[in-house]
Amino acid sequence: MEYILHLFIFIVFYTLLAQSLNVSAGLTGLISLAHAGFYGIGAYTTAILSQQFHFPLWINLPIAMVVCLFVSLVVSLIALRTVNDYFIICTLGIQVVIFSLMNNWMGLTKGPLGISGIASVSLFGITFDHKISFLLLSLLFMVIVWYALNNLFNSAFGKTLLAISEDEIYAESIGKNVYQSKVVSFAISAVVAAIPGALYAHYISYIDPSSFTVTESIFILSIVIIGGMGNLTGSFLASTLMVVLPEILRFVGTPNNIAANVRQMIYGAILVLVMMSGSKGLGQFFTKMKSRIISSN
């Protein structure tokens, strides 16, 4: 039971990560490989504040979000000078720089040793140290984020972002401020990524740089792509699939060290297949199924 709850919590984390990346990658077309970096910045800010100053989540989270906002503004100043392939390579570079800061800045992050002893979340005297209560808490965050992002996607600003991803020059020509909109969408992505970061730090109570590598960035991006670009429901479905699928391997009896490789091979292969078939991802498939069921009724 504990184990299943643990999986659910991770589904929520990855849903939050994928949905936040969906704002910049899916909606605006800014495919970023630095997302695990922002996730990590959120987690590290929380961990340091919690361990050094014993702050609770309710103070850590806003601070982590502000830190992510500042970093993302700096990053977007750099990365948004480039387009398409170069944007991806540039964000990849930023991811490596963020990772090497986490891994090497011994004074602040303790390097590869990581930070341990992060307190669990408590509010009004209730401690969220049990898995069920923590799951409910993170579900609450997921619902809020989902609702907020859904509104964003359907807002006028969301339509502007969609227009930018489809035809940047046209969007510019009808008077939209393309650069500013890109910066805002990139910042929203980064700020929302701080939420799962902070939750992760409090939940696991120990973080080290190995959770925030390039591979993790690729994993989050593949969830977005598998779920469908710009599709929030798809991101949720894909996170569920990508978290549950490798666990099936565990039941089949694959040893742990092989399971990690096989997990990566699975998402790599799905990524290739989705790109080769040019499909719009799980979300689209789900909508199609739903409309078919409704029409058959």
């Binding site: 392939d85 991806i88 540039c90 490596v96 720089v97 510019e172 690729i218 092989i258 790599g268 040019g278």
Partner: protein, 291 residues
Amino acid sequence: MTQLIANIFITTLFYLLLANSFSLIYYPTKFFHIAHAVVITSAAYLTFLFANQLSLPFAVAVSAAIVGAVCIGLLCEILFYRPMRKRNAPALAYLIASIGLYTVLQNCISLLFGDDMKIIRTGQVTVGHEIFGAYISTIQITTMLVSVLLFIGINLFLQFTSVGKSVRAVSSNPNLCDIYGINSSRIILIAFGIGSALAALAGILSAMDTNLTPTFGFNLLLYGVVAMIVGGLGSTRGLVAGALLVATAQHLAAYYIDTKWMNGVTYIILILFLIWKPLGFSGVRLRKVEI
């Protein structure tokens, strides 16, 4: 100090080889073939397999490894990129598919050989030759010779042979080439073959100089990519300058700060270049659209 200069020199030539192998594929296809990293890694692992585990003669092992690695590069093109090109996939789809391919293939290598460090045995370890007060190993001398010869060779090939000219033609306009009867698909395949062979050599040389892990190709590839972007696209002199800058910065960082910051420094160079000199040394435009 002479040692430092010698090291910078060797690394520059090595990165030049990497940048050369990557750019040969990048020019005609116009996408970042990330799975190229696996070609680098697999060549080294195949050498390890043939030379150490099957104990074949070293020359046979190396040639077989290069052939194997080239096959991987060609299969990537034939099985994945070519069908996508037929379907007119959007430009970013190639990059993402190649990231997926890289993930799959790299984990195959991890599964087959394990994640631990491997060393290709080549006789006893020697101190190296002393040249102007700097110690340089035989492998490093080989690396320098191979890099220089191949760099000159590839440039002559691109300038003077008809296939080389076709590669440049496809790089500048694939549609026009098809109209003029140059089979762009075949030319791209040739570029993949030569590029993969260069990458395989680079992988083997690097693995013999240091050691090999399943992910070492990725870092090497990215150094090559950074050298290419910093140098500016489509310029031979730019490539040399880019490789020199990356190698110098890395060695100075390792010497004056710490080796662990080498990666960070490399990407900071890339980022600085994208801010202040987004067109690289050569000044060829890299933005797709300019308003």
